[in-house]
Amino acid sequence: MISNNFIKGLIKPIILKLLAENGKMYGYEITRKVEDLTEGKIKLTFGALYPILHKLEADGIVGTETEMVSNRARVYYLLTEQGKFSAREKIAELEDFVSTLSKLINPEPGLLPCTS
């Protein structure tokens, strides 16, 4: 399980990437998808997910559609036109962050300190 401190700033780009790939998704579906894709190493809690989804909605990045499923309302989230552009930017930023972090943790051989 990955510590919440690492995940905190990454929730927004993770959600945007999932919505960009899957079209519309509902809250629980997002948490399950993240858990499945990361083999249970990243778990999005209610508390972390919904404030960010609502913030994205307030900023016009995602829109919502409500459907009645099994006698209850289900709110689906989907990227708006503005959101698609924003998602591309955030995903590129995330990829850049991951590759930078990877370089930092696993430096190329030429950059390794001389041990002998």
């Binding site: 509902y26 809250g27 629980y28 948490t31 209610f46 508390g47 919904y50 404030p51 960010i52 989804l53 609502h54 913030k55 909605e57 307030a58 919502t64 409500t66 499923v69 099994s70 006698n71 209850r72 309302a73 289900r74 709110v75």
Partner: protein
Amino acid sequence: MYQLNDEQINLIKNEVERQDIHLGHLAADLLDHICCEIEEQIWQGQKFQTAFNNVLNLIGNDGLTQIQNDTLYLTDKKYRTMKNLLKIAGVAGMALISAGALFKIDHWPGANVLFVLGFFLLGAIFFPVSIFTIRKESSKPESPVIYGSALIGGLLTIFAPMLKVLHWPGANLFFLVGYALLGIVFLPLMLNSLLKNTKDNFFRSTYIVGAISLFFCLAGSLFKILHLPGAFILVLTGSLSLTMLFLPLYTYKVSSASSRIPTSYIFLVIGILYFNLFNLLLSIH
């Protein structure tokens, strides 16, 4: 996949409503999320009640309310500013008053300045901002008269001890008008609103006992300030009925309604303890 029936969905809906979730479509989000979690656990072999309890434990006490407040914090700039101001003014105000008390005890210079700054932060910033945030977090805001009387009455009773400590004139007048506003305007209106919004007769009776007890305490304090006879009896009756009648009745009802203790209950107990201590000391003095 197992699908919850209407009765089971209603049980979950009651929990969402109990935590006063009203912001946009958050209630629908949370209801569906909890239902999905429970359905998943039932599919894996759990019984409904066990799965429901597991999810409730995962959410924690007032966890849904916390999610709503976090959502409001992220989406509403005004609320965010107020919340930050509340934290800064609360901590700084208490620190300045504590420092002022220390300076006063040791007869160091600057005690009065620290007291004035501390009470100003608590009274003029912390208290009004906390009323604003309570109003913002509530699904059914009370009438402006209730907030107004709480604000003015509260401000006067916060500033009155400051005037008293600094030996400035007007302390008694502040106490008098403040207590009168709280006792005659705020308390009856608040009780009326609580009775309107509560269907449970046991809770309604408990609120009436609480309001009468508080009224006795406030009346006793007013009598004390005006040097009228019977102040101690009034405060003692009010404090005793608050602790020996209202609190046990309320505790019984809260514990029978849910196995988990709400955060508001803990604040209520601490508030009653401090209120009683302050009033008893004032009336004995």
